[in-house]
Subunit: 793 residues, 2 copies
């Protein structure tokens, strides 16, 4: 439907219209003030160059539209006593949302020095885009926000994540027409096929077409309206249009559109919740088409600005030097009639505040946008129920992720009523062997179901869509609103969300410094189907570099674990699911893997993060001749196989085996909270003995972590060298020189004096590698001695 | 429109139908054979367990649909003498496309040992998913492909990239309904707003709805048809449906759909090219709805398989051990009636080949899919036309990317008629100061144009859409078909395509080992708006880690350059644009930057990749006391400022300044083709003197590159430590301890014996940093002594 702005609806009384417009004008005034002013905030005297900031930074273009949404959300929240959030997608929308929260008082409650008076207004203006001040985007610092507006594409998936399992919540989501061109945003429209109208809240997308990006028209704004409507209907939405540039008409149309949308949402929820309707509903979407930089300067220096890309940033750029620009700025500010909006002390007048809701209903004070306030401890079952029995190391095999699946089933079951845990993944839950969870909760699905389908469930809490972006966005929104979850992903393809996780880590880093932000549950990744076991997928599926990416980010917020077997995976997962404000990356295999540690041993080992496996080495007091270190399941197996070879073939050699679960332990303690002191490091790895380190990923990462250590020059790392193909597990380690035979050769080459003494052993290792090459060429399988290998320590 | 498969059209004669079906059955037979067989390829004897591979790897589900498309593309290519490519999007489509190219002879021409007879067929079967053999995805090894099917999401943007500036080319593109859920694919539908019907070829998307991913139904397959149609119309397409599971009926419907689509495309092109039509056309899309694993086992072990997710991989998994499975497999294979399809020598019979086109028209032999064959040298103008004059270092300022923009304008102009160069970017060409190019070519745009718009051009070759994914996909498709281009991007947000560039580098690495693949132009990135100059964007826009990501990949294919000024940027860009088969990453600033080197000096410096800047240091024979090294524009400025401070305040100190442009020079020569020998490295950096290295990005990257060097223990690196905010340029370097004052302090702390002698200087540096903190808090700007600084050497 289209709300015709020329035929103003009778919905609003003139008085309501007047107060809504007052709120909107006040927000616009405050937005312009933030971009330009550092003094004279109320224009109590004529504007002079020295009132204007020396560096004009900020983005006016999107602000008036966001302000309009803020004003009208206020109205409906108050009128309907709604529990509502808004996700502000458009880039650089900071001034608008800050203005809205300052007007309603949330800002001052959060930052008491920014008072709701002239002095506070001056502070509000100055801090914006000031060094170390308030960013130009909606950001962690912005009350009421759980979404950073700096990188575009994630608003709608965040909105759905916030709405899942929050049946009483309305999540409005403003999507800019720039953001709408991104892939992640385009994919996330289909999230409505996963939103349960019974147990989830509602998402109200507001597509704001102001027509331009930084420098170009937007694609969606230049579609004929029927084509745009077709697109939105194809996304499963019923569009409601609000178009115009006359403020009064747009206010009336927007009020009517909001009421229509909310009535429809209420009807959908009533039908599903009270009448048991099972059809996937068509949810409303509001298409708001207003000029970019609306109410700003129509022309500057003879060129059109309002309604064009030129309004994107600072429409009047030379205010301090150009008297015309200064005059235009003053006229622009005064066009909002500030004297009607603020009293002589600078406080908003009653008309301005007439639409503002109370207390926690205010958009800047809703606790869902500061989800840590609502977070409850996750009811994690005792690990002993899931642990695999280990009497001696390496005697049995389990698929670690399958064992984890049982634990996740327990978590899913324990949260059946609370509904505050979700498992997300791009169509890989079963492929990653976590399918046990389906016994406790099916897969969310609101679209058509056929008889042959399995585990689809209108009320399920397992989320699967073939879009890593959407999975990540959903989970972020879910965690940021105070719930728990885990994302399981093929290791190589988690790079798809490199940039998203960057932004989430940055969010966490900033919120950790904001005392009013309560800690949230960590974002937990299970990376499996990893580089060493891509037997049929080959080179395109081989990339262990996400760990490198993560370890570039703020150490206070990132944790990386490489559990070598099933029980260590349980221990690490338990720790990750209990933690707060981290991104935890857990890399673990799904293929059968030897069980090395009992549950008690696993707990102790994971608590240390790295430790000596006495039972695997041959130390007899006096320290080792060589250290064999490993991190990751496949490297651990190869290191233990090498240790076994050394024990038999060079029994006089003193070998120490060290396993590293928590990779940041290798960093100096000054660089990462989990880092070891040099004393600890030398105690494990020795300051002077050769260390042959088999690592799951790119070998140079270990050097980057350990380069400051005394013994670094003796550190020799094997790992994935980007040599990949479709092949067997053992052939992969041979091709990358991380196989047991190569590791034994490395030991012989690096232990002083061993080369001559062990020349025959070394030759046998070379021979074994050649035997492998000959065998695989013919049989396509691994050597029987490798395929049947088991630890015999 | 919907082609009703119950009312078979009269388009095909019965004879045509029979031969098309023969081709399709042959391709299906070959697909199954690749997954299962290692002997008895023609079933000349009853199937026995030992004929079956020991490891069953592969994906049957998507193959019959892809085979159908191959068959019907053959028909229309032959009937219409089309110059056509096909992009095969669905994952694991390898067996189908290999089958098609073997049938037509392309495979044997490419790999002569895989002959078109029984022996070759046996080889074809065995190599599939065999260690070191042929991947399960469409891959670089697949004749006729320019798209790797391993990671999903990029087929349609690749197709558009291939079609741009290829007016005679038809690019069919099969999109799986799994892939269609990804963000990059969802965004790329709007590529049709950028496709010029006059100068570009046509893209024919074929959306293949087989209903399931690995384990779940797909979203698009479960939309009611009117909703799906609305979506496709909203994307700007007219859908043509082909639905069915009866082969004859589907053949007839598919033939009719293909003809309808191609007639429409021809009409669109005629209208645009001959009648000058200016309306954006509605291009056809074919929606092909056939069962997953069509013609495979309907049921296995009592569970439905054909038409369900269970057909995704290997429908019969226990063929060697389970006689029932073996019987089912044999029946399945014989259902294609191989004796009708292949003669007694195993060659395809005439009926099978009746639809196959000739020579370079064959999909497996079209040179556009091996674009290097068509590549021409880019006509690069002489750099001297664009070089900035530099009489002495640091006397003038230029914006490097603006200078590069002039060169790109020259390239754009020189290719006006050839149309084989494109500049792509996410709405940032002007923001990155490259807008000079618009003088030679506008921005491609087929949607509505308003009077106020600038530089939009139906025939433009600058591509701007706010989707890094789409930009990347377009450029990859363009390069892979033998053309040239450059992608300019904000540095932080290029992480959005981390995973895409991974796949492109993997593609290059494999094709470099395939003698039949001709080298293609490199993929060139200009990363600007970088970490140090995000004055108004702040923390969310600060991430220099793409370089780290790239340097994890195959050294033979990756190059990273950090030119410190305008002329070095010109030299590096010139080199990158002439190169082949690389990914070149160029990091350069857009803000005014001192000019350090003349064009001749810049060429010489860039050719070396790293060198001593004599004029900046104070060496007087006898070697330096300390080396100040830098890489990147901002680090170079801070190092030179530090060198200036040292020259004045500690004139007796012998300082060497080294600038690094080509960061891989730091690697050992064994690790990277550009790496330095230890002799070269020690010559530049000394084996034993302190090296204070100011680096553009994360400091530990330099350690990871240089850890093997003799002098590594003396290497002290400053760089971005993930401490970001909205602030001034100098405050950013102070916060990250890379400022000139800190660098001088580092020198004093690390040159033996200097600490006591230079205590007063060190104190002055401390004082300057404090002065900075006080000043910026009040003024919001940088200290005048910093803002006005210039080199005075």
């Amino acid at each position: 439907m289209s709300v015709d702005t020329r035929q103003a609806s009778a919905l609003l009384t003139d008085d309501e219209l007047r107060t809504l417009d007052a709120h909107w004008r006040a927000a616009n005034y405050l937005s312009v003030g933030q971009i330009y002013l550092m003094a004279n905030p109320l224009l109590t005297e004529p504007l002079r160059p020295e009132h204007v900031k020396p560096r004009l930074l900020g983005h006016w273009g999107t602000s008036p539209g966001l302000n309009l949404v803020y004003t009208h959300l206020n109205r409906v929240i108050r009128a309907r006593d709604l529990n509502a959030l808004c996700i502000w997608g458009p880039g650089h929308g900071g001034p608008a949302v800050v203005a809205g929260s300052w007007l309603e008082g949330s800002y001052t409650e959060t930052y008491p020095d920014v008072t709701r008076d002239a002095a506070g207004m001056a502070r509000l203006f100055k801090q914006f885009s000031f060094p170390g001040g308030v960013p130009s985007h909606v950001a962690p610092e912005t009350p009421g926000s759980l979404h950073e507006g700096g990188e575009l594409g994630y608003s709608l998936s965040h909105a759905y994540g916030a709405a899942y399992d929050n049946p009483g919540l309305l999540v409005a989501c403003v999507i800019g027409d720039g953001e709408a061109e991104t892939g992640p945003l385009a994919a996330s429209w289909h999230s409505n096929k996963f939103l349960d109208p019974v147990h989830d809240g509602a998402v109200l997308p507001i597509l704001h077409l102001n027509g331009y990006k930084i420098a170009n028209p937007t694609v969606l704004a230049r579609l004929p309206e029927p084509e745009l409507d077709a697109l939105l209907k194809g996304y499963g939405h019923d569009p409601i249009h609000v178009t115009g540039d006359d403020p009064d008409a747009v206010h009336r149309a927007m009020a009517q559109a909001m009421d229509t949308a909310l009535d429809r949402i209420a009807a959908v929820q009533r039908a599903a919740r009270e009448e048991g309707a099972g059809e996937r509903p068509r949810w409303p979407v509001i298409v708001l088409r207003t000029p970019k930089g609306w109410t700003g300067p129509a022309e500057v220096d003879g060129l059109p600005v309002e309604g064009t890309w030129r309004a994107h940033q600072v429409p009047l750029a030379a205010v301090r030097d150009n008297p015309d620009h200064l005059r235009q700025l003053e006229a622009w500010l005064r066009s909002y009639r500030p004297e009607e909006l603020f009293d002589e002390h600078g406080a908003p007048r009653a008309d301005v505040l007439a639409c503002v809701p109370d207390g926690a209903r205010r958009l800047g004070s809703n606790p869902h946008a500061n989800g840590g306030l609502l977070l409850r401890e996750l009811p994690l079952p005792a690990l002993e129920r899931y642990a695999v029995p280990v009497d001696k190391p390496g005697a049995t095999l389990h698929e670690p992720t399958r064992v984890l699946g049982d634990l996740l089933e327990g978590v899913m079951r324990a949260t059946t009523d609370r509904r505050d845990f979700r498992l997300v993944g791009p169509d890989e839950t079963a492929s990653n062997r976590l399918q046990a969870v389906y016994a406790a909760s099916g897969k969310a699905w609101q679209a058509q179901v056929l008889q042959v389908d399995e585990h689809l469930d209108r009320h399920g809490r397992v989320l699967e869509i073939l879009s890593e972006h959407t999975c990540q966005g959903w989970l972020e929104g879910y965690l940021l609103t105070g719930r728990h979850g885990l994302f399981s992903c093929y290791e190589a393809f988690v790079h798809i969300v490199d940039s998203m996780v960057n932004q989430h880590i940055k969010w966490l880093r900033v919120t950790r410094r904001l005392p009013w932000r309560a800690p949230i549950a960590s974002l937990n990744y299970l990376l499996t189907s990893h580089v060493w076991r891509q037997d049929h997928n080959g080179f395109s599926h081989q990339d262990p570099g996400f760990v490198d990416h993560i370890l570039n980010k703020s150490p206070e917020a990132v944790r990386v674990y490489l559990p070598p077997d099933a029980n260590t995976l349980l221990s690490v997962a338990d720790h990750a699911l209990r933690s707060r404000d981290y991104v935890n990356v857990i890399v673990a295999g799904k293929q059968p893997c030897f069980d090395w540690l009992s549950m008690d041993q696993a707990r102790a080992h994971c608590a240390r993060g790295a430790g000596i496996w006495d039972w695997a080495g041959t130390e007899r007091g006096g320290g080792p001749d060589v250290v064999l270190a490993c991190a990751g399941d496949v490297p651990t197996q190869e290191v233990l196989a090498a240790a076994g070879l050394l024990r038999r073939q060079l029994p006089e050699l003193s070998v120490r085996v060290v396993n590293v679960v928590d990779i940041a332990r290798l960093l100096p303690s000054e660089e990462h909270p989990h880092g070891m002191t040099d004393f600890e490091y030398d105690g494990l790895f020795t300051p002077d003995k050769p260390v042959i380190f088999a690592y799951h990923g790119y070998p140079w990462l270990i050097h980057r972590l350990a380069y400051r250590r005394t013994g670094h020059k003796n550190l020799h790392v094997r790992g994935y060298k980007e040599i990949g193909t479709t092949t067997t597990p053992f052939d992969m380690v041979v091709r990358n020189d991380m196989d047991r035979y190569r590791l034994v050769m490395d030991v012989i080459d690096r232990v002083p004096g061993l080369a001559v003494r062990a020349a025959a052993v070394r030759q046998r290792m070379e021979d074994a590698r050649l035997r492998h090459h000959d065998w695989i060429r013919v049989h396509g399988t691994d050597l029987p001695e490798v395929a049947d290998w088991a630890w015999d320590g």
